[in-house]
Amino acid sequence: MLQINNLHAEVDGNKILRGINLTIKPGEVHAIMGPNGSGKSTLSYVLAGKDDYEITEGEILFKGEDLLDMEADERAAAGMFLAFQYPIEIPGVATMTFLRTAMNAQRKARGEEELNTPDFMKIVKQKAAELNVTADMLKRPLNVGFSGGEKKRNEIMQMALLEPSMCVLDETDSGLDIDALRIVSEGVNALRGPDRGMLVITHYQRLLDHIVPDVVHVMSAGKIVKSGGKELALELEEKGYADYVNAA
């Protein structure tokens, strides 16, 4: 599904990623944990195709194709999805218009038929209800005036609607209360499936109680310094990152 080989990336001359190796197979959920500034968010942006990063070495293969060769919108159409740590507010763009444009753009890029209004409304209403996204939120401009929890629920709803094959969740748990964390996690778990890979980036083991990963990686100073099973997250929670920061 996703294969990252020796990935180096920098921004404004600062080396952020220094040789990431990571392989995610269909159906697997991987978690990346690590201290602040270790490059976790950079990795997520590089995967989604943000312009600000310069790739100096390495490659990313997504379903066997060169991901770095694709524009951000092409990556999305190919099945890559990033749930933002800080979802962007876009005044003047109604959430519904945005959702419909995104869904139909992806369908068009894949050569599928565009959704008509009744079908679109039906799907949105169903997914919105599952994630506690109210009709009022759908009417408002995208993310404008949404609380932190509402923004994150909106991200997961988009993920459910776009049905990507590779989901990258960048600190989706940050800013969530206990109930919101449960709703968001249930939304993510509902999308787990044999054909879908997931990369969950988080600071806290708490999220991984809800979204149980197959593999946990520890990232420090732009490298993956240790990988293990879900018990690694518990160990980190107890001991902290100190051992790994020094190791890197």
Binding site: A48, E71, A76, P91, G92, Q106
Partner: protein, 415 residues
């Protein structure tokens, strides 16, 4: 030997003087013409024209159009109760049946005086050259009338179309006025389009002006409005560029507790130049005004916004907020923004803001990351930028018409 400094007259100035000399003028027209004869066309050393050097821009001043008889069939911009047409500056006949509370006649010259008394070249040209226009009076009725005036320049000859309408919305009455301006694409015609509006006590006027002239034309628009007490005037000026567009808006608060919502959107490309010059005069206490303008600039186009809010000493408790924002879609576009506040009262809330930037990369990336292709994402963002000013309009039909024009403009931009 002493040298007398004389200004070289430009071709346009010579032509203008010829036009002014060719007709007998009296009263306000003669005063305005006198000022034009005296100082010629304004240039960049005149503060109000610093960014729109009219002397340099106007290559010629075409002769005034003769009476034109042809009434053209066009779809109104929005469904209207009264549909009027001005062809080559001449108001066509008024429909026989008018809705309750609406009376309209065709006035000759001296039609409306709601402008500031301070001389303004845009207004002087209109005063001196106008051959009249519609004189509209609205009294209180059950239904709010929608009046549409379509201004068309027609033909293959370069002409000057000059006219001035007046509208009086009487006490407690409510009206919607929609104006559209258009003309041929291959003729360098000139339009001097005036509107004088009196909004009476407790009256409400919604006014939309769409300037969508031919690419070679020059449009000099003048809007003057005076508000009584508890009155509301909500103008929206949509400018799609041509060679030159300058619109002067004068708003005067004469009674207490009135509100002005002055908004506009400008979309320009190529070598187009637009100038929105606004002067809001708070001359009575307890009035509020909002000024909100959006300019989208592509190519080598240049947009100017000059907005002045004047708060007279008597106008305590004034609340005025002005915001002008530019969005640059190209490296070579230019946005010149000059907000001014002149405040002589001490208990007021006044603010102004001006921004200028290109499309926000973070917003763009968010849309791209959801699979929306770049051209579509850019269109969505420009629409969103402009919509902020449009969506405060009360009538959904007008919002829809304006948004459709934005969409068309964006489609031609990317084509």
């Amino acid at each position: 030997m002493t040298a007398q400094p004389t200004n070289m007259q430009t071709q346009a100035e010579k032509a203008l003087l010829e036009i002014l000399g060719g007709q007998p003028l009296t009263g306000a027209r003669e005063i305005a013409a006198g000022r034009l004869r005296e100082s010629g066309l304004p240039h960049r050393r005149v503060e109000e024209w610093k960014y729109t050097d009219l002397r340099a821009y106007l290559k010629d001043f075409p002769t005034l159009a003769d009476q034109s008889g042809a009434v053209l069939t066009r779809e109104p911009l929005v469904p209207a109760d009264v549909s009027l047409q001005v062809v080559n500056g001449h108001a066509q006949s008024v429909p026989g049946e008018l809705p309750d509370g609406v009376s309209i006649s065709v006035a000759k010259t001296d039609n409306g005086t709601a402008f500031h008394t301070k001389p303004s070249t845009t207004v002087d040209l209109n005063t001196a050259l106008s051959n009249g226009g519609y004189s509209i009076a609205i009294s209180k009725a059950d239904k709010v009338p929608v009046i549409f005036i379509d201004h068309i320049v027609d033909g293959t000859e370069a002409v000057t179309a000059a006219f001035r309408h007046s509208i009086t919305v009487e006490s407690g009455a409510n009206a919607t006025l929609v104006e559209r301006f258009s003309g041929p694409s291959d003729v360098a015609y000139l339009v001097s389009g005036g509107l004088s509006a009196f909004v009476g006590d407790g009256a409400f006027l919604t006014h939309t002006r769409v300037v969508n002239e031919g690419p070679q034309s020059s449009h000099l628009g003048a809007i003057g409005a005076r508000l009584g007490a508890n009155a509301t005037y909500e103008p929206f000026v949509m400018t799609l560029g041509s060679y030159l567009v300058r619109t002067d808006v004068h708003l005067t608060f004469e009674g207490e507790h009135s509100h002005g919502g002055v908004r506009g959107a400008t979309l320009i490309k190529g070598d187009e130049h637009t100038d929105m010059t606004l002067e809001v005069d708070h001359a009575a206490p307890n009035c509020t005004s909002i000024e909100q303008f959006k300019s989208v600039i592509d190519g080598r186009a240049q947009a100017v916004f000059q907005g002045k809010i004047m708060v007279k000493q008597i106008a305590q408790k004034t609340d005025a907020k002005m915001m002008s924002q530019g969005l640059l879609l190209s490296e070579n576009g230019e946005f010149l923004n000059k907000p001014e506040l002149e405040i002589f009262a001490d208990d007021v809330v006044c603010g102004h803001g001006a921004t200028c930037g290109d499309l926000d990369d973070n917003l763009l990336f968010y849309l791209l990351s959801r699979g929306i292709p770049r051209p579509v994402a850019e269109t969505m963002m420009v629409q969103a930028f402009v919509s902020e000013a449009i969506e405060d309009t009360e009538q959904p039909e007008i919002i829809e018409a304006l948004e459709a024009m934005v969409e068309d403009w964006l489609a031609t931009r990317q084509a």
